[in-house]
């Protein structure tokens, strides 16, 4: 596919391409769920779905935060065109992550929920992060941007606390090896300090 010269069409085409990429993890989960193409979720499928949806949400969120610095360092406006899709992708996988937890891990056994939350405070941290994403997702349309004007930007500053909560949520639940959550935290620190000191 050749990218159009007309910026509006080019923007649409970049987004279509990015949407395909955004759907890849979901395609993997689906094929593994049904044991297609040699994929498998293994003997603990709900745990596998929980981890892959959570990780994808994190990746997309970090990417969302990286797009502005990438554009500034590299000068290509295309990076900025993808921010909405990246952010919505993160929101979608985070929602899936919560659904997998509630439906598959907890088996909708609400009597357990209180006990679980009391015992796993990192769940609350993750839940707050997800709730924090809702206003951003809800105001992600062009119309909302126009209507809200300067207030739109203020609503979307929520991405910073949301990302910090997400990193905390990830760090808190690992068993022993904190290398990966620390790596994510490091990258996040870099992305945030870039904004402060640039």
């Amino acid at each position: 596919m050749t990218i159009a010269m007309d910026p509006r069409r080019a923007r649409r085409q970049w987004n279509q391409l990015a949407l395909l990429v955004a759907l890849l993890p979901f395609a993997w989960m689906t094929s593994a769920l049904f044991d297609l193409f040699g994929q498998s979720l293994g003997p603990n499928p709900s745990r596998e779905l929980l981890h892959s949806s959570g990780k994808t949400a994190l990746n997309a969120l970090w990417l969302t935060l990286a797009l502005r610095p990438l554009q500034q360092l590299n000068g290509r406006i295309e990076f900025l065109w993808l921010r909405r899709l990246a952010g919505l992708t993160s929101f979608a996988y985070a929602t899936l992550h919560l659904l997998v937890y509630a439906i598959l891990e907890l088996a909708l056994d609400w009597s357990d929920l209180g006990h679980e939350i009391a015992k796993r405070p990192f769940i609350i941290v993750g839940l707050i992060a997800l709730i924090g994403m809702i206003p951003m997702a809800a105001t992600s349309t062009d119309r909302a941007m126009r209507r809200l004007g300067r207030r739109w930007q203020r609503i979307h500053y929520a991405i910073y606390p949301v990302a910090i909560l997400a990193a905390w949520h990830y760090y808190w639940q690992v068993k022993l090896d904190t290398t990966e959550p620390l790596l994510y935290t490091g990258v996040l620190a870099l992305l945030l300090s870039y904004r402060l000191y640039r």
């Binding site: 993997w28 769920l33 994929q39 293994g42 639940q173």
Partner: protein, 336 residues
């Protein structure tokens, strides 16, 4: 000093049926079918994307290495077996915590293909009359292998049912004639970063060390294990020699043992050292004592599929009748 007494079972208590000598019928047909499927997947290029598919050829390799040995002969022991359907070979050998091979559940089955479980020897040390180095064959030779179907409960709140092959640890330990100062038994896993890639990163203070109180080690349920599902242990399951202590969280059941030491003091064990508030020395399965970061009241029985069984965790993993008396007077909340 009081003499330690070890619980003993009379031979008459073991009601094995002589007709049930191994090897069990876990088919070569499914084995070759899996190999064929793996080859197919690799041919389709799908293996490039597929951690699961990659796991299969090496799982097959690990098994063909073990297959070069004569298959173990054993006798089923219903006296110490639970009446629950065992998980499949696949479910037991592709989802493992064996950090020596890596941190992911699939790492042990994917990365253990070149591990050499034979020749193998074990050093016996400490408070016993007959210390020294013994080959695996020396250790196993005088004993008959038993198959015991045990529940296995991981501290991460999943569980499965496994038909292990092994020898009651007490029978083996007795041969080394532990003395009256032997209050604990310490076990050590092989230290070899060349074979255990996970030992190159220091997530745990290698080598892995576990320990039991002597009465726990001498309990008839404690099994020195060499096989599962009628076969020798595959590398990812702790070949060639591991411990199974079914009433404790899985991390107590140390794998690939190279050293057994009788000690007077409680051994410093790996997980307990790494996070003492999360992993106790005893680590008895206890639904009433939660892990600081998650509940232990329930567990997910592997193999139940997507909506699969979330079942209640039982005190001492269902072995309370057999082992609760070992801990009489012990505050299980403090000594978790």
């Amino acid at each position: 000093m009081a003499k330690l007494t070890y619980p003993k079972i009379a031979p008459s208590e073991i009601e094995a049926t002589p007709a049930e000598f191994g090897p069990a019928e876990f088919g070569t047909s499914s084995h070759s079918r899996r190999a064929a499927l793996a080859a197919l997947a690799a041919g389709a290029g799908a293996a490039l994307l597929a951690p699961g598919a990659l796991a299969q050829p090496s799982a097959v390799n690990a098994r063909s290495a073990a297959a070069s040995l004569a298959p173990p002969s054993f006798r089923r022991n219903p006296r110490w077996s639970v009446n629950e359907a065992p998980n499949t070979w696949e479910e037991i050998t592709t989802y493992n915590n064996f950090y020596e091979f890596g941190l992911d559940k699939a790492d042990p089955s994917e990365r253990s293909g070149s591990f050499k479980p034979r020749p193998w020897s074990v050093e016996i040390a400490g408070e016993a009359a007959k210390t020294g180095r013994y080959t695996l064959e020396d250790i196993l030779k005088p004993h008959a292998l038993e198959e015991r179907i045990y529940r296995f409960r991981c501290v991460e709140a999943w569980s499965r049912v496994v038909p292990w092959l092994g020898i009651p640890l007490k029978d083996v330990l007795a041969r080394f004639e532990p003395n009256s100062r032997a209050k604990f038994v310490e076990f050590t896993t092989l230290l070899d970063p060349k074979q255990f890639p996970g030992q190159r990163s220091r997530v745990i203070d290698w080598p892995y060390v576990e320990g039991l109180r002597i009465d726990e080690a001498m309990h008839p349920l404690t099994l020195l294990t060499v096989g599962l599902h009628g076969r020798w242990l595959p590398n990812q399951s702790g070949a060639p020699l591991r411990l199974i202590v079914p009433w404790k969280y899985g991390f107590k059941s140390i794998k690939s043992i190279v050293k057994i030491r009788f000690t007077e003091r409680q051994p410093a064990t790996s997980w307990n050292k790494a996070a003492p508030d999360e992993y106790g020395f005893f680590a008895n399965v206890n639904p009433a004592v939660d892990h600081p970061r998650w509940s232990q009241a329930k567990e997910r029985r592997l193999g139940g599929g997507l909506f699969g069984s979330r079942i209640d965790t039982l005190p001492f993993n269902g072995y309370a009748n057999e082992v609760a008396s070992l801990y009489r007077g012990l505050d299980l909340r403090r000594f978790y």
